[in-house]
Amino acid sequence: MHLGWRDLRSRYAQTRIGPWWSASSLLIVVTGISLSTGLLTGNSALEQAPKIAIAMGFWTFISGVLTEATDSFIADRSILLNTTISDSTMTLRLVWRNYLVLLHNSAVMVLCLLVAKSPFSAYGKLAVLVLVFGPCLTAISFVPAYFFSRFGVQNRDLRVFISTAIQLNFFLTPVFWDPPPSGVMRAVFLLNPIGWIIQFTKEFMFASRFPAVLLCLITLTAIFMYLPYFLLKSKLKPIKKYL
């Protein structure tokens, strides 16, 4: 926990607004995308803003975790090789740090709800999303982050590949589009677990029905991810050996 906080303080050291810089950059991105999609689709940019802010906030969390993971153990090499702190602790530090960023970014989500004159219930939903679903997502993302961190050490070429794949995935994830009921993009959506998470956040906030199917899919994915983690963890060679 301390290391996660320290990372944030260090990243934004000697800036006036500290970790709020990440929220400011999200605000700029959301404003830009809302205006562009508003102009392209003819919808009101103000109405689009909360949806885009929430999708972008959670996308920033997921992409941040996965991208940083590929380099995480190499960056933490000196701590791993000089203390008995485990590699899993370093992954926990990484996901916790990104959850802290998500918490700061939620201020932009609140601001967009305010601007869009959303009903009071929307703030309650957002609180549930950030304070209940957020920690669950943090726990879910721990497993891919851990394996990505291992991949990053053992196959250093993969780091570039994974980072490019995550960037590409942005266009295949319904951040500023909604999955159509059929067709190629529907198939793409169904094959993309990150897309399920982003779509869940949007539907939870703005759809009239609770997205139970998406929640089930996310829960099942989490179970299937934790299974190999628990089964393989004790059999994997300690990563410190490769550092």
């Binding site: 301390h2 290391l3 320290r6 303080r9 260090s10 050291a13 000697q14 000196s78 701590i79 791993l80 090789l81 000089n82 203390t83 008995t84 702190i85 053992q154 300690p238 410190k240 050996k241 490769y242």
Partner: protein, 231 residues
């Protein structure tokens, strides 16, 4: 007398080249070792022979590929000076991190941080970002933090630890001497003959993945010197 550390049939290898198993290079093969209370062990050997790796194995940082290491005491490990130091944060914040990594309880942290500040003689600079420090000041901060945080446990020290300017080095060595006299046992990896002679009562020479000699420190240094053609 029960050994405080027992090493039985330790084998450890590293992968070289493209990382395939066929490229494995043995650092230690079937190594056996016991360290008792009162032992002040000096690990002696050429660069790359595996002294630091052995310290990491004894500390539980690395796990053996074969064999077993049993440690029956708490350990304080002083390996690479300056690990995890964040240049954009203050000396105090970095010292706090070191205290947390050393698992110091929250109630004791403030007192220890003041001790670190006083021992390092950094004064107001303790509150400034580490990136504003000179190299000597960074060494002072790290050494002070590591030495103040040492508890009354088994002590493991690597050769890279403890290099500072002459004046501070004297203070550091005095502190290390106090520590060595109070800890139940110590393992020190070093090339510094003077340091080994004054701090150790037992010498272990490591050569070709095994222990080549285990006995008195004077004899160990002599054997190492002869084999390396130093003397």
């Amino acid at each position: 007398m029960t050994a405080r550390i027992s090493v039985n049939g330790l084998s450890f290898f590293r992968r070289a080249g493209n990382g395939k198993d066929t490229d494995a290079k043995f650092i230690f093969r079937d190594l056996n070792l016991e360290i008792f209370e009162g032992d002040r062990v000096g690990l002696i050997g050429n660069n790359g022979v595996g002294k630091s790796t052995l310290l990491r194995l004894l500390s539980g940082i690395l796990k053996p590929d074969e064999g077993k290491i049993e440690v029956r005491d708490q350990l304080t490990v002083l390996l690479d000076s300056g690990f995890g130091l964040d240049p954009s944060l203050s000396g105090r914040e970095n010292a706090r991190t070191m205290a947390i990594l050393a698992r110091v309880e929250k109630v004791n942290r403030s007192k220890l941080l003041e001790e670190i500040r006083n021992f390092s003689e950094l004064n107001e600079a303790f509150e400034l970002p580490v990136k504003t420090y000179s190299t000597g000041m960074v060494v002072r901060l790290v050494l002070s933090a590591q030495l103040i945080l040492v508890e009354d446990t088994g002590l493991i020290i690597d050769e890279g630890f403890g290099t500072a300017d002459a004046q501070f080095q004297k203070k550091t060595f005095l502190r290390i001497e106090q520590l060595i006299n109070s800890v139940p046992f110590m393992v020190l990896a070093s090339h510094n003959e003077e340091m080994l002679k004054s701090y150790c009562n037992r010498g272990i020479v490591i050569r070709e993945s095994a222990i080549a000699f285990d006995g008195g420190i004077e004899e160990a240094l002599q054997i190492y010197g002869q084999s390396e053609g130093i003397k």
